[in-house]
């Protein structure tokens, strides 16, 4: 478990993976280098030993053959040369045998062979030497017996030496085989270690990736949950130390957020209620300020009206002043005009009287004409009576004709002629009636003309009477005008003097009005200031109220936002 805990960090896992790879590579390199070195060393050693052994073996074989040859030659001829060759060949063979036996490169089995060769050589040498001594003493039989024993050992010795060569080649073959086997083994080992390293590294890598991905997924889900407002604690579970730290940090963050959100919720509730309170107070204040403002506006308008009134008074006074000043001038001019009027009235009075007379004459003429018309009208009356008579006769005639027709119809064929007469009579009656009617219309038209003329005459006559009256009235008016003008003249003179006196009084009044106006304006402006201040206060209060409303809305918003969190 401790070991697992030690490797429960990404760093340790990555390091472990890399270490496994590197270790594998190092092992491979070591094995490879070792194999190469082994092969090289083995080859070098084998070659040098083969060389050394071959050289010594060759010399040994050569000297052994020389030794045996000299021994056999001495057996044949007993010459000193052969004897010396035997001795020196033996010595050389001993030296080479000794060197070969001491070669460290020699295998133990070969060394046994070499030792055995040395022993056989020594024995053969002794036996040959002994046979030579027998030979020298002329004991040929013993010499041949000894030589035969020597030859047995010599042939065995030479056989072993040749065996040594065979053994060398076998040894070289075995070495080559073992080298090949070693190389194959190393190669297999290298591949195995390589595969194992890769597998271990891959396994560690996959495990590391999984140990990163799974916790990351969990943490990401938790982060999304936080984002959605779900601040409940994170279930960490098993994960690498780094991610566990991250998870713990996120959890701590969630805890802090939870605490914070709780506090914010409480604070926003408090703020909302405070904002509501503030809003209510602001509204009250605004209402109060409105009242004050209205009152002050009323005060202000009153003052302004006063100012206006005073202004009007002042302007009236000024107008009065001006009028008073003008009155003087006007009355003067009135008097002058009166005089002019008087003069004109005098001038046109007679003309008017003449015109009046003319008009009275005209009236009389019209009266005469009217009488003639009335007489004409009275003359048309008998015509109307005649016509009515004709009409009556035609109507009766028509009626008679109709009766006659009926009687004729009763009389039948005999009455046919009569019916024709009856019909003629009746047509005649109708024509008479129609003629009467036309005459009646004409007479009526004449009468209408006469009536119209009569009325015109009557109108002319009244007009003429009206003109007369007007003329008379005009004359009278002229006279009255003259009288009035004279009175105006007099009055104007009086007014003109009065006006001069009035002017001084008016100026005094004007000055008094002006100071009063200024005082009133000052009063009005103060009122306006108060009103403006009240208005400003009202505006501020309204502003405050609106801000409180904003605040209230913000608090509400905040509350709604915070409500989304699930602490």
């Amino acid at each position: 478990m401790n070991l697992l805990a030690t490797f429960n960090t990404l760093r340790a896992r990555i390091v472990l993976g890399e270490f496994a790879l590197v270790a594998g590579l190092v092992v491979i390199a070591v094995i490879g280098i070792g194999a190469l070195r082994t092969v090289r060393n083995t080859v070098t050693r084998e070659l040098s030993s083969l060389t050394a052994i071959s050289a010594q073996s060759d010399r040994l074989v050569t000297s052994l053959f020389e030794h045996v040859r000299a021994a056999e030659q001495y057996m044949t001829d007993g010459s000193m040369e052969a004897r010396n060759a035997f001795t020196s060949g033996g010595d050389a063979a001993h030296v080479y045998q000794h060197r070969l036996q001491a070669l460290p490169e020699l295998s133990e089995s070969d060394r046994v062979v070499v030792i055995r060769v040395g022993v056989l050589h020594a024995e053969a040498e002794v036996l040959y030497s002994f046979a030579h001594a027998q030979q020298d003493l002329g004991r040929r039989g013993d010499a041949q017996t000894g030589a035969r024993l020597a030859r047995e050992r010599a042939s065995e010795m030479l056989r072993l030496v040749s065996l040594l060569s065979t053994s060398r080649s076998v040894g070289a073959e075995a070495t080559a085989t073992s080298l090949e086997q070693a190389a194959t083994d190393r190669e297999m080992l290298v591949w195995t270690v390589l595969a194992a390293s890769v597998l271990i590294a891959v396994a560690i890598g996959v495990a590391t990736l999984q140990s990163v991905e799974r916790p990351l997924t969990r943490l990401a889900a938790a982060a999304r949950r936080f984002g959605d407002g779900d601040l409940r604690p994170i279930a960490l579970g098993g994960m690498p130390t780094e991610l566990a730290k991250l998870g713990e940090a996120m959890d701590r963050l969630g805890g802090s957020l939870r605490t914070l959100v709780t506090e914010v919720v409480e604070e926003s509730e408090r703020m909302a209620s405070a904002a509501e309170d503030l809003s209510a107070i602001s509204e009250q204040l605004a209402a109060t300020a409105g009242d004050v403002s209205t009152a002050m506006e009323q005060v202000s308008s009153g003052a302004q009206r006063q100012v206006a009134g005073l202004g009007e008074s002042r302007s009236a006074a000024e107008t009065l002043h001006a009028a008073t000043e003008d009155a003087g001038h006007v009355s003067g001019r009135v008097a002058d005009l009166g005089a002019e009027i008087h003069r004109l009235a005098e001038t046109y009075g007679s003309d008017i009287e003449a015109a009046g007379n003319t008009l009275v004459e005209l009236g009389n003429l019209v009266q005469q004409t009217a009488k003639q018309v009335e007489e004409l009208d009275e003359l048309s009356e008998p015509i109307y009576e005649f016509i009515d008579l004709i009409k009556q006769i035609s109507s009766q005639t028509n009626l008679l004709a109709l009766n006659a027709a009926i009687e004729a119809a009763r009389a039948g064929e005999r009455g046919v002629g009569f019916s024709v007469v009856a019909e003629e009579v009746r047509q005649l009656a109708d024509t008479s009636a129609q003629a009467a009617e036309r005459v009646s219309g004409t007479i009526k038209t004449i009468r209408d003309h006469v009536s119209a003329m009569a009325e015109t005459m009557a109108a002319g006559r009244s007009q003429a009477r009206g003109v007369g009256k007007v003329s008379q009235g005009a004359a009278e008016a002229l006279r009255q005008i003259v009288t009035t003008v004279r009175e105006i003249e007099t009055e104007s003179r009086r007014v003109s003097g009065q006006a001069a006196e009035n002017l001084t009084a008016v100026e005094n009044i004007s000055r008094a009005l002006k100071s009063a106006s200024e005082a009133a304006q000052s009063h009005a402006s103060s009122s306006e200031e108060v009103a403006a201040a009240a208005q400003e206060q009202g505006a501020s209060t309204e502003e405050m109220a609106s801000q409180a409303a904003v605040l209230n809305r913000a608090a509400e918003h905040l509350r709604s936002l915070v409500k989304a969190f699930r602490a």
Partner: protein, 385 residues
């Protein structure tokens, strides 16, 4: 008869030594690692054979002397004795046992060249190489056996040269016949003698190989006699061959001065007439020197009047040299080896009963001459008094 009697006596003594060693080893078990634990030194040789008797006894004498004087760095020395039968294969097995015992800080051994060479591959190998000081392996091949291989004896070539000079100078020999055993030792001694002797104007009248497969040496000796004889005859080989040769002398009624290398040492006690046989040796018990006097005196006293041979003297010197090295650098294999390599160089030369020891780069003793002894009254004595 005397030889077999002596052999049983040696075995008895060796067995007693082993019991003592086993007892002390048993006592020390369970206290391993503390400062009182003994320092282990391997002792490897063919201790089942009489020729290694003196080597074991002298080594045990040296250890007991050192331990009586307080040990090394306050710790006693203790021998781990292993028998290699003088055979290469057994020597390798023994060497592996000693090598694997990490408490063994050095080895004294092996006795003969074949076993020492075989074991040297083990001691020089691995990562915890182990010093082996041979008291008596004289093969020239040992020079290149490895940095952990040392010896306190001269090489075979020293014997050949010394014998040739001695034959020319002391005997005045002009004509010398050679019988050599056709093995590394015999051929080596024969070659160095032959080269040295001919260089000094001598003549090799015959030069014949022998071995156990021959029925007798008679034809060689008869031919030498028939060709005018020789002033001396060198037998380059082991003691048995020399005894055979001397017996053949009696058969063919011919005799001459017999010379031999250290391979024939012990011939003085053989049941052949070895009187007057000259033997070259790395050491002779009666050679001059105060150290040697003290050693032989103690040896005689401890082992019932016996005298040590060159193997015993070499083992004695090797043990004491190792003690000095451990005293100086501690019980550590590599540091002991470095100390030994520096002896006579950065470190003081070691004066032992066999003479002054200074190692060269091959682990051989520099300027080590041999002595030539002569058999008198069945004793091998120094020719120079």
């Amino acid at each position: 008869m005397a030889d077999s009697h002596r052999g049983s006596h040696v075995r008895r003594l060796a067995a007693a030594g082993s019991r003592i060693l086993l007892a002390s080893a048993g006592l020390s078990l369970g206290a391993c690692g503390s400062s009182d634990d003994p320092i282990l030194i391997g002792l490897a040789g063919p201790f089942s054979q009489p020729r290694a008797e003196s080597m074991q006894l002298a080594a045990q004498l040296a250890v007991s002397e050192i331990n009586e004087q307080g040990g090394v760095r306050g710790r006693p020395l203790q021998l781990v004795i292993q028998d290699d039968s003088g055979m290469a294969a057994a020597a390798v097995q023994v060497a592996r046992v000693l090598y694997a015992n990490r408490d063994v800080v050095a080895v004294v051994g092996h006795m003969n060249s074949g076993a020492t060479l075989a074991a040297a591959r083990v001691y020089n190998g691995g990562s915890n190489s182990l010093v082996a000081i041979s008291p008596s392996a004289s093969s020239p091949d040992l020079s290149s056996a490895g940095p952990y291989t040392f010896r306190v004896c001269p090489t075979d070539s020293a014997h050949g040269v010394q014998l040739a000079q001695w034959a020319r100078a002391q005997i005045g020999a002009n004509r010398v016949a050679i019988l050599y055993e056709n093995d590394a030792y015999g051929r080596g001694l024969r070659t160095t003698f032959k080269d040295s002797f001919t260089q000094q104007g001598g003549q090799i009248v015959s030069d014949d190989p022998v071995s156990a497969i021959l029925p007798s040496f008679e034809p060689y000796l008869t031919r030498t006699r028939s060709r005018g004889g020789a002033d001396a005859i060198l037998f380059a080989g082991a003691r048995a061959g020399a005894e055979e040769m001397i017996r053949t002398f009696g058969v063919i009624r011919y005799s001459t001065i017999v010379l031999g290398g250290d391979g024939i040492a012990g011939i003085e006690t053989a049941d052949v007439d070895a009187e007057g046989v000259y033997v070259s040796l790395a050491y002779l018990y009666d050679q001059p020197g105060a150290l040697n006097q003290a050693f032989t005196t103690a040896y005689r006293r401890t082992y019932g009047g016996q005298v040590p041979d060159h193997r015993g003297a070499g083992a004695y010197d090797a043990i004491r040299l190792l003690a000095r090295a451990i005293e100086s650098v501690g019980a550590n294999r590599a540091r002991i080896r470095d100390y030994l390599a520096a002896v006579g160089d950065e470190e003081e030369p070691f004066d032992g009963v066999t003479g002054r020891i200074v190692f060269d780069d091959n682990g051989d003793v520099v300027d080590r001459t041999v002595v030539v002894g002569v058999v008198r009254d069945k004793r091998l004595e120094s020719t120079i008094r």
